[in-house]
């Protein structure tokens, strides 16, 4: 037993020294491998953390949102619809919501303006997201103007700026009072943006939605579960699709690794021949090749995953934010709360290390079965 262990260690020792001898090639292989695992793991971590954030936001979302559609576009919905919906059996509460978008021609950003009569949202005051504060360069207590359809701009005093930690929800929000809202947009009387319906028993939601749709054929009820599903599919598709793309990257890497493993240099060939002639057996050489593979793939996996964790959860995924940002001016400064479990790590391991290892089986067998008398005959 001890002898087997010692043999493994001795062979590992030699494997490390032979990798070291060709460090240029092996380091480039390692770097490429680390990079692929890093990107794959970052993506996995990023998506699962965003999923959690989306789920948290959705937790507070209304059970059912009723919009009105005219000519295929969303329109303002009359308040009376709310009272009728409230009388449907199973509906606990109907809230009308006033909100909209404000395009800031000054800096090209899109804000989300919401009317809400909370303490900070008193007339003339506003609670804003930190993204808005950044792009408008305002601090608490300062004033900032918004254009109105009339001649006078709406002057608002910043009462609250939401902390960076809630950027994923609030970076672009401007919360103002109802009165200010109607002045800002010259909002029609008796109309609201949409209705938020609370239904006590979620099982009844589809029925309530169907009743609303038949009551007002021009309305479009959106269920919370549909939003959830949309999000799920966005992230799953994103996760799955990108996974496929990255898998192809992994595949090309395997081909590279295969090519590298098969294209034995004359020098390597001679070395194996010498080893075999001085008493190494085929299975010893196979073991050597196995340890060589491990000495590449294990560090690659460990480094790749740990770096990815740091990249996504400590540095907020700067690599992906570039892709997500696109043309938007307000990119949230968020720090994701990590979501990692062992199964994720195992799957990552299965998807990256195993293909590499299997790709090297046949080449290493070919290497290992060089004739032992090759060294004599050279």
């Amino acid at each position: 037993m001890i002898r087997t262990g010692e043999r493994q260690r001795n062979i590992l020792e030699f494997a490390l020294s032979s990798l070291h001898r060709r460090r240029g090639r092996n380091l480039s292989l390692l770097a490429m491998y680390v990079l692929i695992i890093f990107v794959l793991a970052s993506l996995l971590f990023f998506v699962s953390a965003l999923k959690r954030e989306a789920a948290l936001v959705l937790h507070d979302a209304p059970d059912l949102i009723v919009q009105r559609m005219i000519a295929g576009r969303q329109e303002l919905i009359p308040v009376e619809y709310g009272a009728e919906i409230a009388s449907i059996r199973g509906v606990a509460e109907v809230r009308s919501r006033l909100w909209g978008y404000y395009f800031d021609s000054w800096n090209g950003a899109n804000y989300t303006v919401i009317a809400h009569n909370s303490p900070t949202g008193t007339e003339g005051g506003a609670a804003i997201g930190s993204g808005v504060a950044r792009s408008r360069k305002v601090k608490v207590g300062e004033m900032f103007p918004l254009r109105t359809p009339g001649t006078e701009p709406l002057l608002l005093e910043v009462k609250t700026i939401f902390p960076d930690s809630s950027d994923l929800r609030a970076a672009d929000l401007i919360i103002i009072s109802t009165a200010d809202f109607s002045r800002l947009f010259n909002f029609p009387v008796g109309k609201v943006t949409d209705l938020a319906v609370t239904v006590t028993n979620v099982r009844e939601l589809p029925t309530v939605a169907a009743k609303i749709a038949s009551l007002h054929p021009d309305s479009r009820p959106i269920l919370k579960s549909e939003i959830q599903r949309t999000y799920q599919s966005i992230f799953d598709w994103r996760g799955g699709m990108t996974l496929l793309i990255l898998l192809s990257a992994v595949l090309s890497f395997i081909i590279f690794a295969w090519d590298r493993a098969t294209g034995l240099s004359a020098e390597e060939r001679k070395e194996i021949g010498i080893l075999k002639s001085i008493g190494w057996e085929t299975s010893d050489v196979l073991l050597l090749k196995f340890w060589e593979g491990c000495a590449i793939s294990l560090p690659a996996f460990l480094l790749g995953v740990i770096l990815a964790y740091g990249h996504v959860f400590f540095l907020s995924a700067p690599l992906f934010s570039q892709a997500l940002k696109g043309w938007s001016i307000l990119y949230p400064r968020f720090q994701l709360v990590p979501v990692v479990d062992i199964s994720q790590l195992l799957v990552l391991f299965f998807l990256t290390v195993i293909p590499y290892t299997t790709a090297t089986i046949i080449p290493s067998w070919r290497t290992a079965t060089i004739d032992p008398d090759a060294a004599m005959r050279s």
Partner: protein
């Protein structure tokens, strides 16, 4: 003792380029002697040595090893001669590792690693502690006067030093039989003489030594017990020098 009976080795059997390297060789090699296989290149002496040294298997014929005095894991009774002809490669390797030590025409040292590591290499796979192996390797290097190079990479050695390192490597597992293939081919006369002195030392230590060579310094040397002359895969002449 090693006995060969009717040993033939053919390459590329059944193909147009078939050729027979060793034809129907029957031979007995007693222990603790220096035996030289003499003949021009292509005479089959190297092939014969690879067959004896368990590096390859004969196409037909038998090779037996007697009274090895070394325990082989699967051999129950050490008194019975060990037939090596039909053994799988795995077991040939075990025998090769524990009974034979090889010195090649080119020194066949692995470049990039130290002299010491090169000497230790054959023992890596036996599962011995490397510190123990290193101790033994240093003793051997000392014995051959190259201990001061132990930590240097092998590229920096001169031809004679490299040869002595190769001999040290062949001895690391304390084999009973040393096989040397054209050991003096790349050495000048002085170094070849030195080599023969080392061989006589080994002989004094009780090792059997088989050398393939067509160098007169080797087969005219005083320490030789027997010369086997070969040509075209067969034995022309087999004479005892003493």
């Amino acid at each position: 003792m090693i006995t060969l009976s009717g040993v033939t080795k053919a390459f590329s059997c059944g193909k147009p380029n078939e050729f027979t390297a060793v034809t129907n060789v029957t031979l007995e090699i007693p222990p603790r002697q220096v035996t030289v296989f003499k003949g021009p290149s292509g005479s089959g002496k190297t092939s014969l040595l690879t067959l004896i040294g368990c590096m390859s298997r004969p196409t037909s014929g038998r090779i037996q090893l007697h009274g090895l005095g070394v325990p082989i894991p699967f051999q129950e009774d050490t008194a019975v001669p060990l037939e090596i002809t039909g053994l799988p490669e795995r077991f040939l390797t075990i025998i090769r590792r524990s009974i034979f030590g090889f010195v090649f025409q080119q020194c066949n040292l692995i470049t990039g690693i130290s002299v010491l590591e090169n000497v230790m290499l054959p023992a890596y796979t036996s599962g011995e502690r490397l510190s123990e192996v290193a101790r033994r390797a240093l003793l051997l290097l000392e014995q051959f006067g190259v201990a001061r190079h132990a930590r240097q990479p092998v590229e920096l050695l001169s031809g004679g030093e490299a040869q002595r390192v190769a001999i040290a490597r062949a001895l690391i597992n304390n084999p009973a039989i040393i096989i040397a293939d054209e050991p003096t081919a790349h050495l000048d006369s002085k170094l070849s003489q030195e080599f023969m002195e080392i061989v006589s030392g080994l002989k004094r230590d009780g090792k059997s030594i088989l050398i393939a060579s067509h160098d007169p310094i080797v087969f005219d040397s005083g320490i030789i017990d027997r010369v086997v002359e070969m040509r075209d895969g067969t034995i022309l002449d087999d004479r005892s020098v003493r």
